[in-house]
């Protein structure tokens, strides 16, 4: 591998560029017109404009991205996360052009990209999924299913999403009315009355397992707790989780089993919900590198992007599972250009004053520079601040210290830093009482 095309932007483009440089691989950064002055573009060996600001015409523009790879002579493409990262058709086209795709195989993506198929595969691999039904034909069927699953259950619209049409049911008495109402809501909202039932998991932790495979074997790199979310958007992640040892062990083994079942290649993440009793349920797999991968890097000392490069270059994983060691505790906060005081609405602008923290155990992954204008066309992630220390209480103290040092100012700019400071000061958070509705419950959010 001599030259990699980075088909992404922002901090992840910079992250990939850094590893490529360390590996001695030349970099081609493709970018929209809005990102011509971005840090990855400025640091790249080559930069190629692939379209106007709109993502559909630039970062999702497959013909222009492939052409850029061809004219620049790139022999590999790293898609980062988002955009084309989980697009099996793109991965296939890249391979058809004799270019290495730094990520899973198109087959991996097809098998795991669809939630329903992924659930099926999980069952095949003997990995627990949230118990549930297909579309319900009748109220009777619903009653039988709920009986089997056990109350409380949640009704969800088949065509739904974003919480609409959902309805938690605690007893059989409530069920009939709830089904009828849910169907009505689903019809109104999505034009399709079909609903299904799932077990309702109260106060679940969102725990995900990082894996890496080379097509022959799969290693887990321990897990991350990403329960601090707002409207399903992760805000703060940490590793390891606070799960009891035996639960952790089962979770990690399940993840490896599932990934091995499909001959998984490259880095991937298996997401689970864990209930208060320590039961875990597979939800879905992300077939890409993730925003929060640095916390895993901090506790394992491994460079996940480097491993992706090596696997894509055809090198089998030299590491054995027992060589993968975890040490200490890591926390990442996402610094978004959003105003936590105003319901997290985007608040972007030019970066006038920028001062990142330093010192022991502090890592900054950000594409910002003083004077950079944050373009309004893409996500609001300004950067990630990651800390490591010997244990969780110390890591929390270190993160508080690091945030105290951080200055990120500009006209109109607001960030999630004040929100993170509050989370870190929260007594429930500090003693590890986190679950996916923590923000809504404890932070007065929604």
């Amino acid at each position: 591998m001599k030259k990699v095309l980075i088909a992404n932007r922002g901090e992840i483009a910079l992250r990939i560029l850094r590893t490529a440089r360390e590996l001695g691989v030349k970099t081609v950064v493709v970018h929209s017109e809005a990102d011509a002055e971005s840090l990855p573009v400025l640091l790249a060996d080559e930069a190629i404009c692939i379209g106007p600001p709109s993502p559909a015409e630039s970062y999702l523009n497959i013909p222009n991205i492939l052409s850029a790879a061809i004219v620049s002579g790139a022999d590999a493409i790293h898609p980062g996360y988002g955009f084309l990262a989980e697009n099996a058709a793109f991965a296939e086209m890249v391979a058809d052009h004799g270019i290495a795709f730094i990520g899973p195989t198109p087959e991996n993506m097809k098998l795991l990209g669809d939630k329903a198929t992924a659930r099926k595969i999980a069952r095949e691999a003997g990995v627990p999924v949230v118990p549930g039904t297909d579309e319900l034909a009748s109220v009777e069927e619903a009653k039988e299913a709920a009986q089997e699953i056990g109350y409380p259950v949640i009704l969800k619209a088949s065509a739904g999403g974003g919480g609409r049409g959902m309805r938690v049911v605690h007893t059989e008495e409530e069920l009939e009315r709830a089904v009828l109402q849910a169907q009505e809501e689903a019809r109104a909202a999505f034009g399709n009355p079909a609903v299904y039932i799932e077990k309702y998991i109260e106060e679940p932790k969102h725990v995900e397992v990082q894996v890496i495979g080379d097509g022959k074997k799969v290693l887990h790199l321990f897990e991350r707790d990403c329960s601090i979310q707002r409207r399903h958007q992760k805000l703060l992640e940490e590793a390891p989780s606070l799960l009891p040892d035996e639960v952790r062990k089962g979770l990690l083994q399940s993840a490896v089993r599932l990934a091995e079942h499909v001959g998984y290649v490259s880095a991937g993440t298996l997401e689970f919900l864990v209930d208060r009793e320590g039961n875990y349920y597979f939800i879905e797999m992300n077939t890409r590198i993730q925003v929060e991968h640095p916390v895993t890097e901090m506790i394992t000392g491994l460079d996940l992007i480097r491993m992706q490069f090596l696997v894509a270059g055809g090198e089998p994983l030299k590491l054995r599972q027992k060589d993968v060691e975890q040490r200490g505790h890591a926390i990442e906060v996402r610094i978004n250009a959003e105003d936590p005081e105003k319901n997290f609405r985007p608040a972007i602008g030019q970066i006038e004053t920028l001062h990142w923290p330093g010192g022991p155990g502090v890592r900054v992954d950000s594409h910002l520079y003083a004077g950079y204008k944050v373009p309004p066309y893409y996500d609001s992630l300004l950067g990630k601040l990651i800390v490591w220390d010997e244990d969780r209480p110390r890591a929390i103290q270190r993160m508080r210290r690091a945030l105290f040092e951080t200055v990120l100012e500009g006209p109109g700019l607001r960030t999630t830093i004040p929100f993170h400071k509050k989370v870190l000061d929260n007594a429930f958070f500090r003693r590890g009482a986190v679950y996916t509705n923590f923000v809504a419950r404890r932070m007065g959010g929604d």
């Binding site: 790249a44 190629i48 404009c49 379209g51 222009n64 003083a370």
Partner: protein
């Protein structure tokens, strides 16, 4: 900036009879006018980014070892740069990424040469992208004043290819 420094500047201006001074540093911008009754208002723009002169368009191969100097880079303005050569010209830009070809076949004549007259809709060049040959047509009728890209060179999205003076 300290008051003492401002006072010193003012004194120095007085001493030397200077009538106007503008000073810009990363931290502040100061503008002073002395004397006269006329006081033209000059509004100063945002100070955080005193963007200097325009840099040439970066792609496709900026210097490898160049450190990032974000603050030193101004907006890319490839179009206006080329427009300078021919203020009345229309700039034909690459609509896709690919390889620029001036001829329909290696041994054929170029579609157009500098000085040629072209009609609206006439093919100016081909951009090859993923084995597809995309003909790029002129949007105007006029004279080809300048061809900005070498035959066979890679072009990026929006890269100026031709300057055509409409007639």
């Amino acid at each position: 900036m300290k008051i003492r420094e401002i006072r010193e500047i003012l004194r120095a201006m007085e001493a030397t009879g200077a009538s106007e001074l503008t000073l810009e540093t990363p931290d502040y911008k100061i503008q002073i006018k002395r004397g006269g009754t006329e006081t033209p208002v000059r509004v100063v723009e945002a100070v955080a980014n005193p963007a200097p002169a325009a840099a040439p368009p970066p792609p496709p191969a900026p210097a490898e070892a160049a450190p990032p100097e974000p603050e030193a880079k101004a907006e890319q303005a490839p179009a206006s740069e080329h427009e300078d050569d021919c203020p009345n010209c229309v700039v034909v830009k690459a609509p896709i990424v690919g390889t620029f070809y001036r001829r329909p076949a290696p041994d054929a004549e170029p579609f157009v040469k500098e000085g040629d007259r072209v009609e609206k809709g006439q093919v100016l060049c081909i951009i090859e992208a993923m084995k597809l040959f995309n003909e790029i047509e002129s949007e105007v009728s006029g004279i080809v004043r300048k061809i900005l890209v070498e035959d066979g060179a890679p072009v990026e999205y929006g890269q100026p290819l031709f300057l055509i003076e409409p007639t």
